[in-house]
């Protein structure tokens, strides 16, 4: 039986195997993902992002608990854009969620970054699809807030929570432009700290300054104390409200189309790039060009243009045929 069929039947180990393939960018994953795809599009996807130390894992843990109480099956993808130098912190966090390890209604997986440029957002989306096809009703994507990754990953989640904590210096400064836009809900966690009110006020002001229009979503600013579960139910309720807003406003369809477009672009880009690289490695003529560039007899910009316009370009075009 194919991996995909086992996965559809709920085989956790088969799913884990496919996820490892996805994380390793193993081409074998494609056929399986293809079979699973028609079963996707049913889950509610929640993104949790924010700076290290904001308590994202504890909050995720409590969200799992809350959804489980509603009887929903929950899956978590924890995305760790592993720094080459620091490690452990995020994996340490994972252990906290282990109290759900024996609950068959909960599936938690970490995803590393195996160095493929832009590969992380695609892998994340594909792992979400695996969970979705398996019938998990809520899928939480947790990311440590580093760089561009979380912005792209937010494009995968229907509702993105930006989690912050009081006293992170200037709270408004800490929310940089790119992050403000991806937030559907702001969460001030560890709200039992003295500066909590100020953080909420600052964020509320910031939302107000960006005054979304009448028909737009007005980003709520919620307080939680994840360690004691305070505010978690209200957060779950707000996530539900945002999903309902997407559905009612027709924005959910728009969102799904954008996601599909991006996914298609990524696949095309990856395939074209693979072909370009193979050609450059194999073709004698191109080797000559590479050597000429290294000798500064030819510049890479002119070379690229030549490749795309002349014989090599045609060869590439012909190579644009993937074996079915």
């Amino acid at each position: 039986m194919r991996l995909a069929e086992k996965i559809i039947q709920g085989d956790i180990r088969a799913a884990a195997r496919l996820i490892t393939q996805i994380d390793n960018h193993d081409p074998a994953a494609v056929t399986e993902l293809q079979r699973l795809y028609p079963l996707t599009g049913r889950a509610e996807i929640v993104g949790v992002t924010g700076p290290p130390g904001a308590g994202k894992s504890t909050l995720t843990d409590k969200l799992i608990g809350a959804y489980r109480q509603q009887g929903k099956k929950v899956a978590v993808v924890a995305v760790d854009p592993s720094s080459s130098f620091t490690s452990g912190a995020v994996l340490g966090d994972r252990i906290r969620m282990n109290r759900h390890a024996t609950d068959p209604g909960v599936f938690i997986r970490s995803l590393g970054t195996r160095g493929h440029l832009g590969g992380l957002s695609r892998s994340t989306g594909e792992v979400v699809n695996v969970f979705d096809a398996m019938g998990y009703e809520v899928i939480i994507i947790e990311t440590v807030g580093v760089g561009q990754d979380e912005v792209e990953i937010a494009g995968t989640a229907h509702t993105t929570l930006v989690v912050t904590v009081p006293g992170l210096g200037d709270d408004i400064q800490a929310i940089k432009a790119g992050v403000f836009e991806i937030a559907d809900i702001f969460v001030v966690n560890k709200a039992d700290r003295p500066e909590a009110e100020k953080a909420v006020r600052d964020l509320t002001t910031l939302v107000g300054m960006n005054h979304p229009g009448e028909d737009e979503w007005w980003q709520p600013v919620l307080k939680t104390v994840a360690s004691t579960s305070e505010g978690v139910d209200q957060l779950v309720e707000a996530i539900g409200r945002h999903y309902a807003f997407l559905l009612d406003s027709g924005k959910l369809q728009q969102f799904e189309e954008q996601k599909s477009q991006r996914h298609l672009c990524e696949l095309l880009q990856e395939e074209l790039y693979r072909q370009v690289r193979t050609r450059i490695r194999e073709e004698q003529a191109l080797n000559g060009q590479v050597r000429a560039i290294a000798r500064r007899e030819l510049d890479p910009y002119t070379a690229a243009r030549q490749i795309l316009t002349t014989g090599a370009g045609l060869a590439l075009a012909k190579a644009g045929q993937i074996d079915p």
Copy 2:
């Protein structure tokens, strides 16, 4: 007069303008870079990477000083893969180097990440080319050690220093596999700390375990106290030895060819991706496919294959003609 000509004549402001264009991925930069390219390939490029707090900026500052004493012109690209949540730390470090701000033989620029996937390593390489064409003899690339970026950026530097500090927990653990390979020289900075000897011993053992062959470069492990300049001269000497090794062993040429190949691939990839995206946005037929994917009537893998094999594929192939 074109920007490139001004830059060749040593116009700092023109260079700064081009670097901003590069950082913004402004297509206007290409023509200028094309003109500068034949003048590149003369500088010695040194990469400085390591975890936050290792003292990379102070060390870079001292390296600048040492090279200036040798009468060499020095340029620095400080690459900050700006986290969306944390900021300031690296920019703060920049200020320390400001004592060189009035020295016309020193040019320091920071590069952010404007979110282009994989764009950072290409931008870095292009900024290095600008400095190189201007006649800077030593170009230092400083990166904060986050994720894949520093591995790619190391591919731009002839000699990569991996800077670590004693007492970062388990020192060997802190040097993860990908980083070990990019190191040409290990630097244990803040070597006046008590655990310094252990760090040196551990790293030396690690190098020994990887026992490079006879003709290979044996990564030295050096101690520095950047704040007092201790060990900096020895470090400069080791960097020189490594460059001489590259030159004598023929590896420098090999390195330049690999770099050229990568650069060419990146340009082709970017151009192909741009074309794919434009097509997908513009073509009615593709819009239909995107909508079908969003509705789960078609999977993106099949759609990508169709685009690359059928009419749309041919259209893309024709689009492979960039206007000169």
